[in-house]
Structure formats: structure tokens, C-alpha cells
Symmetry: C2
Subunit: 316 residues, 2 copies
């Protein structure tokens, strides 16, 4: 369930483009008007606006936003204005080209591979190739931490059957295979990568359930002391993105605002990428985990136009 | 270069549908009319005919063909009438569900992964999931020879950058990595699979060329005695499909008609899947390799309507 709120009467793409153009003109920028338009349009509507804006003013809307807006607010509005496949391709590229090479950086690849539709993942791969003249797989092999390359290549290459077909014999058999790999401390076995990256989501949930019943623990509880902290952490994120993506995203938001300072990039990523999908469920998961409201947490940790924009996407 | 010949004046899809319907009516079938229509229309035109036929007669054209035609001729016309992505998805499925489990059966997966466009491969994967409610990767892991599973999963999951971007440093480096894997007799290394399944075709050709210059032999000449005949054979097919697909397909045709009897399934597959792509080049490669014409060879080894249909696709 989305949090994005769209008015009942939507102006035409031409009217929206004119409002945006007016907001950019003269001294300063009318940020409120930008939020009022873009913060209340879905991906299809934003696409129409982007196309119309370019036709009217012979300049891309992204270029105008880039020259008018700055800081975390500017980054957030620009990410939101890209079409979702291009946005995610850019997020993957930024993660892989980052100087930091931890799970925190590359988890976006897991999110797109395991908490998006198979068709969206294909669109992201196509967009990545068009933008960067190589496949995300090539950049993973060149840039991701060696321990994570195999599982990330598997996940990003996946195209799962998008339906609820479950074979319980397969679930039982693969629960045993996963248990064997965990007990051998070999999370990088081909079979582990294949199971996690080729099976459909319903099949995987049945496999994890079978694991729980057979071995007494949730599978992610057993993934520890496998001798590779970074791979363990990533596989746990994979499992969480498959079993309950809303809990994963609630965790990312909490981590992004916990302690001193805020990790605005992570906060922006989650709100922007889930506002049209399941941010309502993320809000529920956040409340369950923290006994406090996600909206209040975001409001307390942000300020200015950035806060206003995120709160708009949260449905305020 | 295609061999398919399309008349300058093409009847409308409605006229073509009516001609086909008439050919099916009464005692027997007018096979000549079927060949005259379907054997001279490209994939887009066949799609229009298929859609129109269904609208006019409330029956799919495939069902009509299945009830009217039989034998190798029927199989060939039906394969040709599917849209190319569905045809290839069905060919992959037939290969994986075959009782025979050799390189000869699964090479179709290499052909689609390495001698088709990246977009066609994605379309085949989507079609496979729709038709069989699981991904081709899952069926490869369940059914392909164990030694081939890893490379086939890598290849079928690939989405290569579709352009001529070559990095000569990468080519040199990866030539060394391939040489090391060959000398260690470890063709199933992750790195080998990654190189062959993620790099673009121009990059791979540069890598094989670098290998040749550095180590004196063509890379496929060095792939022997790696301790696994079936994997060696498959990797050689991968390299051939990348370097010169026309030679690979000429080889498949020669093998299909060599000796006693004919392997009609292989012969049909090659002619149907390449008639709109590069069958003219396959014809040239065949002549170079055998000093005899491909058309004569096909004519001599086939008969009846099957022969007439294949010869039509060959541009007779």
C-alpha cells in the first residue's frame, strides 16, 4: 500500500510543467510549488510531465531541477523525478562506485532484486546498460566486495517466476540443502546462490518455513559464525527482503536516523522507492518495532524543504 | 542477412487468414498454400496473421496447424508460426525435458544466449516463465547435466551490454584469467562463467584475440584435456557462437544431415531460427567448410512438404 497522495483533480501535464517553470523563474526557487506538483504525482504522471516539460522548454526537467535545487532536498526530488528503472539503475551504480564497500552500500542491489517485481529488475538492468555502457553484473564483479560478488551477480541476474506456485517437496529438499551449507559454513555454495536467486518468492517462503519446522530456528538466526561477517549480513538481508520487505525497510529507516546525524541517502532511498509500493506497510512495521511513529521520527530528524518533501511522500 | 523472401505485394492479414482457412477445409490440406503464405512472411507479419486468424475463426492458428499438419513438416510450420520468443522458450523446455542429456540437446540454450540479441534472450525468459510457471534457470538446475548447470545458468541469465565498447586492458587481463583456468583444468571457475556470460560480444572477441596473441593458440584449441568432455564441448560452442555464429550453425546443419538418417529437429531449429537473421551467412560458411552448397545438402536429405518448406525459408 502506497502512501503517496494524488489529488482527485490533477492538472494536465502542460499545466504542471508551467507551474514548475514558473517556480524556477526569477530570483530563488519556489520549492513549495515544486513539492506541490511532483510530490503528488505517480510515476506515470511524472513521466508525462517530464516529456511535456522537455517539449515545451527544450530542456530536461532533471537539468532544471539540478540547476535550481540543492542539498538533500535537490537529490531527493531529482531521484523521484527519474523513472523508477533509471532511478534504481543510478542507485546501483552509485553504490558500486562508492568508496565505502560495505553491506550498507550494496544492499540496494538486494532490495531491487528481492523486493521489486521481476519485470522492474529487468527494466533496471536495461536502463543500467543504456546509461553506463556495461551491465550491473560487470560492475559488481569489478567493484563489490569479493565475498559478495557471487551472490550479488546471481541476484541481479534473476528473473523469477512471478506467481504463487509452490512445490513442498522442493521446499523440504532445499531447506536441507540450505541447512547443510550453513552447517558447513559455506554460504557461497552455488546451490545457495541458485536457491536464493532463481526460486519464486512463494516457493522461498515455503522453504524458509520448512527450515523452521525441521531445524527449530528461523533460518536467519542460524546464519552466524559462517566465517564471513559481510556475507552473513548480506544473506540475512536477502532473506528479510523476501520474507517481509516492510521490516527490512523499517530497519533501514531506523538505522538511517539512529544516533548522531542522519544517513540522508538511505532515508531518501527508502521513502522514494517505496512511496508508491508499500510505505504504508513499512510505517506499520516501524511502529511495531519501535513503538513510535515513523512520521514523527522522520519529522524530528529532518528539516526545511527536505522534510516537507519526504512528509509529502509519506502522505501528510 | 536473412534468406526469407517476402513478396513485394503482401496480401492483408485477413486475406492471408482466409487463404489458410481455405487450405484447411475439406478433405486433406493444401500444404502448398500453407507454405505459400507462412513461408514468405516475417515475424511481424506472422503475428498479424495469427491475431487476425483468431479473431476471424475463434480458434488459434497454431491449433488449426496442429490438427491439419503432421510429421516434421507440421513441427516445422508450427515452430515457425510461434512468435520467436515463445518458439525459443519451447525449444529450451523441450531440450531440458528430453531423455537425452547431452551437449547436442542443450546447445540451443547457448545459441539463444550467445547468438541472439540481449533483448531477445530477455523475451525468451519472460515467455518461458509464462508458459511453464518456472524460470529456465530452475529447469536447468533440475534437469541439465550437473557439469553444465553452472555455465548454462550464467548464460541464460545474462543481459550483455549491446554495443561495441572494448577495454583492451580488461581483454588482456581476462585472457590471462581464462588461460589460468584452462591450465588448471577448471573451466567451471566462477570467473570463467562470469567472463563468458557478462561481457559484451566485442569485448569477448578482443579477449579471445588477446589470448591468441599471448599464448599462440586459438582459445578453443586449448580447451581440451580439462577433465570434463561435456563441459569442454559446451564451452567450445559458447566461444564459436560468440566468434562466428554462422560457422556454428553450419556445423549443426552438417552434423544433422551427416551419415545415416537425418536429425530433423536440429535441421529445423537452425533454419527456422536463423532464416530471418543470418542464414545467408550460414550458407556461405557451409560452402567454405564443405565445398558443397547448403541448399543442395538440405534438398538431398529431406523430402515432400518438409523439403519444400525448408527450401522456401532458404529463399528458393
Amino acid at each position: 500500500m502506497a502512501t503517496l497522495r494524488i489529488p482527485q483533480q490533477i492538472p494536465s501535464p502542460t499545466q504542471d510543467s508551467e507551474t514548475l517553470r514558473k517556480a524556477f523563474q526569477g530570483w530563488g526557487t519556489d520549492e513549495k510549488a515544486v513539492i506541490q506538483v511532483l510530490g503528488h504525482r505517480n510515476a506515470t504522471q511524472r513521466k508525462f510531465i517530464t516529456d511535456t516539460y522537455q517539449q515545451l522548454y527544450h530542456q530536461t526537467l532533471i537539468d532544471s531541477l539540478r540547476s535550481e535545487l540543492s542539498g538533500d532536498f535537490g537529490k531527493a526530488v531529482i531521484l523521484w523525478t527519474y523513472n523508477p528503472a533509471e532511478r534504481d539503475a543510478r542507485l546501483v551504480n552509485t553504490a558500486l562506485k562508492s568508496n565505502k564497500k560495505g553491506v550498507n552500500e550494496v544492499q540496494v542491489i538486494v532490495e531491487i532484486s528481492c523486493a521489486s517485481s521481476p519485470h522492474h529488475l529487468l527494466a533496471v538492468r536495461q536502463s543500467y546498460c543504456s546509461l553506463f555502457q556495461c551491465s550491473p553484473e560487470e560492475d559488481i564483479i569489478a567493484n563489490a566486495p569479493p565475498a559478495l560478488q557471487k551472490i550479488l551477480v546471481g541476484l541481479v541476474s534473476s528473473f523469477r517466476f512471478d506467481g504463487a506456485v509452490v512445490d513442498l517437496d522442493v521446499a523440504n529438499d532445499e531447506a536441507d540443502k540450505l541447512q547443510e551449507a550453513i552447517s558447513l559454513k559455506q554460504l557461497d555454495q552455488d546451490m545457495v546462490v541458485w536457491i536464493l536467486s532463481t526460486r519464486n518468492m512463494f516457493q522461498l517462503k515455503a522453504t524458509f518455513e520448512s527450515y523452521h519446522q525441521k531445524y527449530g530456528n528461523l533460518i536467519d538466526e542460524d546464519i552466524k559464525h559462517c566465517g564471513n561477517d559481510i556475507l552473513e549480513s548480506l544473506v540475512k538481508i536477502v532473506i528479510r527482503c523476501i520474507v517481509s520487505p516492510e521490516k527490512h525497510f523499517a530497519e533501514v529507516i531506523r538505522a538511517s536516523i539512529d544516533g548522531w546525524g542522519t544517513d540522508e541517502d538511505s532515508l531518501t532511498r527508502v521513502i522514494i522507492s517505496r512511496a508508491e509500493i508499500d510505505l504504508m506497510k513499512v510505517r506499520g512495521a516501524y511502529f511495531e518495532m519501535n513503538q513510535t511513529s515513523l512520521d514523527n521520527a522522520v519529522r524530528d530528524d529532518t528539516s526545511g524543504d527536505y522534510r516537507t518533501f519526504l512528509m509529502a511522500l509519506l502522505g501528510e
